[in-house]
Assembly symmetry: C2
Homo-oligomer: 317 residues x 2
């Protein structure tokens, strides 16, 4: 008692006598109908996943950001923002972020880091870039896309592409990464080309989907969101820290590709284009755990954090 969702989820066999009556009486939001208790729960889908269901991110796409609080690992998404990803690699390789800081933590919005005092000038990287807010034209058809069956409030179609939450327009002319929890974007000023990757942010609250298509999204935090989301909130306007000494120093940022293999974290990410993924999505759409008398029958694109784990053995590439 009084150990709510806890004991709830750990327990497995407890029978809820009123489940059937309640579910039958409940609202059926929209088609397709909840499939209720059929099928495995999400944990069982993951437990049954084989090596081919997981992928090893390209080390050229992995950033390690080291803070005193621990390591944050970000996967970059060059398929959606090739110029920005290239520029971020240049920035990292010239040590841009080393010794800079997290300067903004706005509750229910973003944690942001970079050169708050505008003291540095990149040596090899660009200082501004044309926006990559969306992918357009022929490039859209080349992007893998696993749509969700559920309607999305913001986009005609939402789903997953290359392991990132994404959306498309109705005519297949544009695709874009969406601002889910943990997604990483490029800070910019008013000018659309004023971002370069020299200042980045991660989403730490309810998905701010109004930013979609208005800012370049470059990746997703695979590890360390618990660090970025629990930093003290800034008390100045927009969550900036009032005083420089409140900032959270960044020791260094490195590309995994630039480290010897034995110094890399061996993370794997669940693929989003497999039957296992489809089963995982279905398990999230309709929670079959006994705790839930009313399976939702739907899921928001930002409500399926894509599983990440440490590879026990190196998976097949």
């Amino acid at each position: 008692m009084r150990r709510p969702m806890v004991a709830a989820r750990l327990a497995a066999a407890l029978v809820c006598l009123s489940v059937t009556a309640y579910a039958a009486d409940a609202a059926k939001p929209t088609a397709p109908k909840p499939t209720a208790k059929a099928g495995p729960v999400a944990a069982d889908v993951l437990a049954a996943a084989g090596p081919m269901d997981w992928r090893s991110p390209n080390p050229e796409n992995l950033l390690y950001m080291d803070l005193a609080q621990g390591r944050v690992i970000i996967e970059l998404a060059p398929a959606f923002a090739p110029a920005h990803v290239d520029n971020i690699r240049k920035l990292v390789r010239e040590g841009w972020f080393d010794g800079l800081a997290v300067d903004r933590v706005q509750d229910n919005y973003v944690t942001q880091w970079g050169d708050a005092d505008n003291t540095r000038t990149p040596k090899t990287a660009q200082t501004k870039l044309a926006p990559e807010f969306v992918v357009r034209g022929d490039a859209v058809a080349k992007l893998p896309f696993t749509p969700l069956p559920d309607r999305d409030t913001y986009a005609p179609e939402a789903g997953y592409s290359n392991g990132f939450p994404a959306a498309r327009d109705a005519k297949g002319r544009e695709a874009w990464l969406v601002h889910c929890y943990g997604m990483v974007g490029v800070g910019r000023d008013m000018a659309l080309d004023s971002g370069s990757g020299a200042e980045l942010y991660a989403v730490i609250g309810q998905a701010p989907r109004h930013l979609d298509r208005n800012i370049t999204v470059v990746g997703r935090v695979l590890r360390g969101m618990d660090i970025l989301s629990s930093l003290p909130r800034g008390t100045a306007a927009l969550g900036f820290y009032d005083k420089p000494e409140q900032r959270i120093p960044i020791a260094k940022v490195r590309l995994a590709a630039d480290l010897p293999p034995d110094q890399r974290d061996n993370l794997v990410v669940l693929r989003t284009d497999t039957p296992t993924w489809a089963a995982y999505v279905e398990a999230r759409r309709n929670r079959r755990e006994d705790f839930f008398p009313v399976p939702a029958g739907h899921v928001d694109v930002c409500n399926i954090p894509i599983p990440v784990r440490t590879a026990e053995a190196k998976p097949i590439q």
Copy 2:
């Protein structure tokens, strides 16, 4: 430069030359179409709001939870969960929470508090209650409801009721509070009647809407979400703290009604049933700030945190 959304939002007059072309080319997700640059921005709507646009929550519905980190203020929603709210008042009045602790902080999910070790027995309050997961029947028609124009992934209709985010089924037979950021729910075990309000949680991440209609929601945090969301994450299963000494002690919880008026925080909450509210929603659906070349044209029910401020003068009741 490199002061992204920041300078962006503070600035007001900068002209983005490419705005028109970009917006015209952008996907138009679903009807109704974005109204783009017409109308005021959200900050201007709030600035123009008069005393009648704000309400003073009933002191019988306000909980003050005092932690070393500061005060958390919760507004209870008796229209949606009358028995649970009544029981929570009894628990508070018998000092139930005083000296207990926050025992669980699960990243991107919930912060939870109560009697983790099950050491206490309520003196006047119930230990279990019939679920109030939804409001049914005639009571639904009596609830005020301001629908959003946008489609919702989870419910036939989403909107606001009495200042809380809510949803309804298609036939008006059920209504329920939805699990947005900052909403407060009643922890329970597997049995549907095992919650009583003796263990509570607040949502600290992406809205876990799959919990809607599966658990009793009793209110919303008006102040102090920055405290609850930035606590250290628990490292045991489900975000529980590993060791009792990691828990965050609760000094005391009081009802505002039980304090002398001069010891109450004088908060007011924006009404959700006024023309000002409608204008505010529209300003959130289509960001007219120059930063946004592509107004979203839509908004999620959980993406309009209902404004709260300290009353400068006591508003009209």
